[in-house]
């Protein structure tokens, strides 16, 4: 038997790697060397069942038709493509355009995935849903999908995130979901995923875990990417129609990386389009001050998948920080690690302060309050636009709206609010 230890020959630069393929993952859930399935045996059955059901659903025209109908009339897709003219003028350079996922029902891209997975839940004959949430957007989107289909829903959320995203906590409760506070570890997204996995260990027979990002064990990174790819497919269609061509550059923020994966994936084979992923730079580049595993981390295992992760020399997950709850995560989806090592996507990071400035600029110039997560992408787009030609186009995935962040922004700015 040949010994093939994933990552044994890992390089952190993509210099010698083969070009990125869109034909990933393979049958073992591998994106190059990344991905796989590092979970307790108890969960393997549920993952196999999900993989098999997803395969059947993909081949079922009725499934796709039902999802398309929901995306159109329940979510409000296609989401608009918007030219942020005043912001572009203020920056002075390339044109900045937004893919308006913030205008979706529930205010973010997360609903694209939760509706798809809720349909899979019903197809598998499961009667209960669990989910994790960081910023609360995935929690709200899951609670919404569950209310729509009459499925009971439990959302795990770290105590720290419950504090900083309280409007979404209340929304989940209004939608009929039970929000279970997670008090272990860092009390953020990472711990919420641990707790959801533990619930699932005991409930796999009747419960589906609607994981909200392109992370976790196979087949989640693939399924979530596929459901989110509607973002990139629409963007290609809209750019072709409105601009007569594709943008020069596409920018998205990366926590676990679901909006970025959905935006980038359809562009992967358009090799002349530059793709830029923006991680949370937090307070700075010291360990514990940021949440940028692709920029500062190393390959390892977290939450069932082999990918870049912030870890210490023993493989213990390191503390991370971002002012944005949705990016405050030490790991990242395995396909992003693959895109990093193949060089297809350039990953960079944006600090809290830069993202906050972009939020302010966007609100003032465009009348659009982006989510703090999406503000990281806006900041990078503004930086890239400067000094570029005025006929160049930078497309930003505006993954969510900032209403949920109002009280946290007030706190960060030291403003008394409400």
């Amino acid at each position: 038997m040949s010994i093939n230890i994933p990552g044994a020959a890992a390089t952190s630069s993509g210099a010698s790697a083969a070009p990125a393929s869109a034909q990933v993952p393979d049958a073992h859930g591998r994106f190059g060397q990344f991905g796989g399935r590092y979970v307790p045996e108890t969960l393997v059955y549920a993952l196999d069942q999900l993989e098999s059901e997803y395969g059947k659903a993909q081949a079922d025209a009725q499934f796709q038709a039902e999802l398309d109908e929901l995306l159109k009339n329940f979510v409000g897709r296609p989401s608009p493509l918007y030219h942020a003219k005043r912001l572009s003028e203020q920056v002075g350079g390339a044109q900045i355009w937004f893919k308006r996922e913030d205008l979706n029902h529930t205010g973010a891209h997360k609903i694209n995935n939760t509706l798809g997975q809720a349909l899979l839940t019903l197809r598998m004959g499961k009667t209960r849903v669990i989910a994790e949430t960081g910023a609360g957007q995935h929690g709200v989107a899951t609670a919404t999908a569950c209310a729509h289909f009459g499925l009971p829903c439990v959302v795990y959320m770290g105590e720290e995130d419950i504090r900083r995203q309280s409007p979404n906590v209340f929304a989940m409760k209004l939608l009929g979901a039970e929000v279970r506070p997670v008090t272990s570890g860092s009390r953020t997204l990472r711990d919420a995923i641990n707790e959801a996995m533990r619930d699932w260990m005991a409930t796999v027979a009747d419960t589906h875990y609607i994981l909200g990002s392109v992370v976790g064990p196979h087949p989640f990174p693939r399924i979530v990417r596929d459901f989110q790819s509607v973002i990139g497919r629409e963007a290609i269609e809209q750019c072709t129609e409105r601009l007569g061509r594709l943008p020069e550059t596409v920018v998205a923020c990366v926590g676990g990386g679901s909006n970025a994966a959905g935006m980038f994936y359809p562009f992967v084979e358009h090799g002349d389009v530059e793709l830029v992923g923006v991680e949370a730079g937090g307070r700075g580049n010291q360990p514990g001050d940021h949440a940028s595993p692709l920029t500062y981390g190393s390959p390892g295992v977290l939450h069932g998948s082999f990918s870049y992760v912030m870890q210490d020399e023993d493989g213990q997950t390191s503390p991370v920080h971002s002012m944005s709850a949705g990016l405050d995560y030490p790991g990242v989806g395995p396909e992003h690690s693959y895109w990093k090592d193949t060089g297809r996507v350039a990953y960079t990071s944006c600090e809290d302060g830069g993202a906050m400035k972009a939020f302010d600029a966007c609100a003032a110039a465009e009348g659009i309050m982006p989510a703090l997560e999406s503000s990281h992408a806006v900041a990078k787009a503004m930086e890239l636009a400067k000094g570029r030609k005025r006929d160049e186009v930078i497309l930003v995935c505006l993954s969510g709206r900032g209403d949920k962040d109002a009280s946290e922004i007030a706190r960060l700015k030291g403003v008394k609010f409400g």
Binding site: M1, I3, N4, I5, P6, G7, A8, H28, G36, R37, Y38, V39, P40, E41, T42, L43, V44, Y45, A46, S184, G185, R190, N194, M197, R198, M201, A202, V204, A205, G300, V301, L302, H303, G304, F306, Q311, E313, D314, G315, Q316, T317
Partner: protein
């Protein structure tokens, strides 16, 4: 033959069963871990399972999670755990295995981890987040060092897959009593005995049952169908009690003695 193979050959010849206590390394410190290991074996534990604290243990319930968190908060390092085991294991008449996340094994280096485990006199590994499909590489490295790589079968494992796991597991096969996380339970699932009975007919490998086992009644009920039983949270909880160390050592020892009395 690994030390575990030898142990079960001996136990089977004598018509006896194994009891494998689990304890967390470094909770509250490695000196105490070594003392408890010696006490457990002195009381008659057949082998010991040492949990390497991990920051994100998905398969563990609140008791073991909390013990990992306490140990990590005190700064326990893998290097120090392996040093302690290297000093302690050779003094014990029972094999010692580590329960360790693949995140740790991978980060340390798969070959390096196994080299150091073998050098420390350990008998094998249980890697709870490395299902059989992902395990061939580690299995080959373990085999080359005469370390057992113990794999798990759970109530959700389809029977065909269980056969595949039996083919690749070495030392023994770990049958997880319940679909769920670790932790003491009063009642065990009624179908457990039948499931283990079925597995018994499929493999010559020793079968040890773990998860949820904490009472002498469980031991009485399960020891006829298994080759061994694994007890974790009940021990970790006693080790974490708010009591002087000597007292805790005696409590853990007496507790294990009560389980051993129910074993044969």
């Amino acid at each position: 033959m690994s030390a575990i193979d030898e142990l079960f050959a001996k136990l089977r010849a004598a018509g006896r069963k194994a009891l494998m206590p689990f304890l967390t390394a470094g909770d509250p410190d490695l000196e105490f871990t070594a003392a408890v290991l010696k006490e457990l074996v002195a009381r008659g534990a057949s082998m010991c399972e040492v949990g390497i604290p991990y920051s994100d243990p998905i398969a563990d319930g609140p008791v073991i999670q909390a013990s990992y968190t306490r140990a990590l908060d005190k700064g326990v390092k893998l290097r120090d755990i392996l040093t302690m085991l290297g000093e302690t294991a050779p003094q014990l008449s029972a094999p010692v295995v580590t329960m360790v996340s693949y995140a740790i094994v991978y980060r340390h280096g798969v070959e390096k981890y196994c080299d150091e485990a073998a050098a420390a006199g350990l008998a094998g590994l249980i890697v709870p987040d490395l299902p059989v499909d992902e395990s061939p590489a580690l299995a080959a490295v373990c085999a080359a060092r005469n370390l057992s790589l113990i794999q798990l079968i759970t109530p959700t494992t389809p029977r065909e897959r269980a056969l595949k796991i039996c083919e690749t597991s070495t030392g023994f096969v770990y049958y997880v009593s319940v679909a769920g996380i670790t932790g003491e339970r009063t009642a065990l699932p009624p179908e457990l005995i039948d499931n283990v009975g079925w597995l018994r007919e499929q493999t010559k490998l020793p079968i040890c049952i773990g998860f949820g086992i904490s009472q002498p009644e469980h031991v009485k009920l399960l020891s006829p169908v298994a080759d061994g039983l694994i007890v974790g949270s009940a021990i970790v909880r006693r080790m974490a009690a708010d009591a002087p160390r000597e007292q805790k050592l005696t409590d853990v020892g007496e507790y294990v003695a009560s389980l051993l009395a129910a074993l044969d």
